[in-house]
Assembly symmetry: C2
Homo-oligomer: 150 residues x 2
Amino acid sequence: MPMQQKAFFCYGALMAAQKSEAGAASGLVGQWRDILAVHARTMCELDRELHQHGLGASDFEVLDVLAEGSAEDGTSGFRVQEIATQVHLSQSALSRLIGRLEKDGLVERGMCSEDRRGVRVCLTPKGRELHGEVRPLQRAVLSRMLEPGA
Amino acid sequence: MPMQQKAFFCYGALMAAQKSEAGAASGLVGQWRDILAVHARTMCELDRELHQHGLGASDFEVLDVLAEGSAEDGTSGFRVQEIATQVHLSQSALSRLIGRLEKDGLVERGMCSEDRRGVRVCLTPKGRELHGEVRPLQRAVLSRMLEPGA
DNA sequence: GCACGGTACATGCGCATGCATTGAATGCAA
DNA sequence: TTGCATTCAATGCATGCGCATGTACCGTGC
């Protein structure tokens, strides 16, 4: 399931972190630098972890939204625009992301009866399973990177 | 000076922010969501502002490093790898970014006398000027997005 | 019914990014 | 000196992303 091969983007985060790390930043720019550092570090680890299961960070975000929002039987699903409000992606990026997830059999796109412009997206059993399998890993990464005693 | 035409990436940040906004998040995932939201929102604004001057957020980060680190006369400059430790970019991305800045006449690449594999990068007067012109805008965005009374 | 503006999603396109690799230069050891 | 592992930066390549646009559909006003 090669879904996405690359995109680890682990860049200078780890090295860059050490500078402003070791203490909350002072000024605005320091605060911003810290945000960038934490974001980069965590994103990096997250992606690295998720990639072993064929997912990127954004993919997981979407799966997570779908998994949280739908009943256990994966009935209704979400409108694309509803997902868009929960995820930091442009509409076009989200559209393509859903396309990839669909191609990998993790979600299904369906017509939206109320508004035929709309598209309903819902998890497949396979998608739900993968999400369940991967979520603990994500939580682990978060606690590893965000918890104070890191 | 068209440097970089696109890359506003203003995605769903503004909308997505509203959800977990209005209060620090509770759990780890909430905390992470907040980081994502703040990062996306601020990045968006920053890019939007900087683009009016032909720069992207990463471009400014590099200019900022160079401006802070070199004496007023813009003498010495930095090694690429030194810049890399201050910026959350891969080595390759940084190399190309510097290439773009050079093409736009904002920085200059020079030989490194101590290690001829290395490259010294330093601001041109034009680069220094642009940085000085743009820095207040960046600070303004940060205070607008990060300050408590936002 | 029809025209028109607005909305929802998909697609064309250009760009920046990361990974892997390359080529040059260094430093160490035989 | 030669040989080899290492490091620095540049480049080939694949991918995801945002913007602009396209297409289908909705809703309103006529």
